[in-house]
Amino acid sequence: MSILVYIEHADGSVKKTSLEAVSYGKALSERTSAGEVIALALGTISDEELARVGSAGASKVLHVADEKLNAGVIQAHADAVGQVYKQIGAETLVLAKSSLGDAVAARLAVKLDAGLVSNVAELPETADGYKVKRSIYTGKAFAETTVSKNHKILAIKKNAVDLKTDGADASVEKVDISIDASNFAAKITSTDKAEGEILLPEADIVVSGGRGMKGPENWGMIENLAKELGAATGCSKPVSDIGWRPHHEHVGQTGVKVAPTLYVAVGISGAIQHLAGVNSSKCIVVINKDPEAPFFKAADYGIVGDAFEVLPKLTEAVKAIK
């Protein structure tokens, strides 16, 4: 009996959200006496990097080094994870929500005849059945969900547990499996991805701009503050609709949902659809010249003032404390 954690990696490093999933698996195993936490990585990545996954709580990392898995082909990843899950006799699969993780989890729920819960916000309660708290209505509510299947898949939200960093290095074992060619029916022909940027859905700090920024030419101020904070940049829906910023930066109900420790909103009024995308943030700072902007009601800290004056000063003030 064990917990398998599917981990994703990019540019040679295991994603932080995946390390959080490992820590979730570890906390889950302690709570439910569920045995070993085993991580699974697919595609090319170094043994040293995989051993580091131990710090987050895995005792062992299994590695399917097949380079055909370097691309995130959904069916192929689902097939590989399913095979390994069965091979090791796991009872629970944990993974971080992501564009690939969600897609893989859904197929695995059918493959493994498992109860799947997505947007998991906390560790399960197991005193009376198996109950998992998940976020619904785009963060506007939670649902306590009972899982009645023996096999369980938990797709966890960012910040569902604290990242553990004190574990010993994990042992890394290569696993050979054969994946039927039919699983590569959908071919990834190319990717167009920002290099070296902090990715918005995974960022610990996010700085977002709205129409109050008056035009794309003023985004340098948002980027400067983001750079000082080590933050990703986002925007409101109108801003991506007008084309000032790319769609993948749109934060909100129909865009990216973020859960950073700090969310800084500049020149965004705070429409309910935008708030839905940010309400899982630990701390929200709002900068807006309109004191009546609804966003102030959802904020922890606020500054009523002109973004063009406040942003450069704030950037300097952040620089000063480093």
Binding site: A10, I74, A78, S99, L100, A103, A105, A106, R107, A109, V110, K111, A114, L116, S118, K133, S135, I136, Y137, T138, K140, A141, F142, A143, E144, T145, T146, V147, K149, A185, A186, K187, I188, S190, T191, D192, K193, A194, E202, L229, H247, H248, Q253, T254, T261, L262, I272, Q273, V285, D300, Y301, G302, I303, V304, E309, V310, A317, V318, A320, I321
Partner: protein, 245 residues
């Protein structure tokens, strides 16, 4: 070419979310229900494909009788016929099994739906249907074109996009900017009244997950305002009080 679009019947994005019956039921009081915004993108793209490729377009919802106005709206937007699976959509696997069962009977070439519903946000149904039918499932898809039997797609990934190609049949979970939402015109609304809406009994499916209770997030305390000429104070608060820097 046969296209199936699966839609959800969900509260409008501006709805205040509340619960009744000891937090076991969604409070529908004063809530307006709409076609899921992501499903609406899928439907809009399907209508474009129907027009350019001469395809047939069926729209499906798993829901009780109250969802029929939502299906009629999809007919008004351009679907040819509608199927309502007469059941409460208990969980993603239940819904996926209903869709897969209809899809097996009708051999659709393309099955589209939103990347996720905006009530439960699971984003799981397309992948489950794909696995049940042994077809590729791609999500979230922001661009989808068909050339012969090849589908060319762009999928949103963290920090950018990925371009894919696959053969029909396949399933896609859609999002903007795949197409612009379509608003039904008067002719569409008139013709929707007489288009077929077939009610089908659900197939059996065991329950894998079940919601026991709902909760609202704790109320937010009041905002701490900092003077615009004293931004250093804000940085101090973030560092020492909120401990987020």
């Amino acid at each position: 070419m046969k296209i199936l679009v699966c839609i959800t019947h969900v509260p409008d994005t501006t709805s205040k979310i509340q619960f009744t019956d000891n937090n076991t039921k969604f409070d529908k009081n004063g809530v307006q229900f709409i076609i899921g915004p992501y499903d609406d993108y899928a439907l809009a793209r399907a209508v474009e494909l129907k027009e350019s490729l001469g395809a047939s377009l069926t729209v499906l919802n798993v829901g009780e009788a109250e969802t029929e106005p939502t299906l009629r709206k999809a007919l008004a937007i351009g679907a040819d016929d509608a199927i309502r699976i007469n059941a409460f959509p208990t969980d993603a696997l239940f819904v996926a099994k209903q869709i897969a069962s209809i899809a097996k009977e009708n051999n659709y070439d393309l099955i589209l739906m939103g990347r996720e519903s905006i009530d439960f946000n699971g984003g799981m149904v397309h992948g489950m249907v794909g696995e049940l039918l042994g077809m590729p499932s791609i999500s979230p898809v922001m661009k989808l074109d068909i050339e012969g039997d090849t589908v060319k797609m762009a999928r949103e990934i963290e920090g950018g996009k990925e371009f894919l190609e696959a053969k029909l049949p396949l399933i896609a979970g859609c999002q903007e900017p795949i197409a612009e939402w379509k608003i039904p015109n008067m002719r569409g609304i008139m013709s929707a009244r007489t288009k077929p809406l077939n009610v089908v009994d659900p197939v059996d499916s065991e329950i894998a997950t079940d919601v026991t209770t709902f909760q609202l997030p704790p109320a937010k305390g009041s905002v701490t305002l900092v003077d615009k000429d004293n931004v250093e104070e804000l940085v101090k608060l973030l560092k020492n009080e909120a401990k987020v820097l």
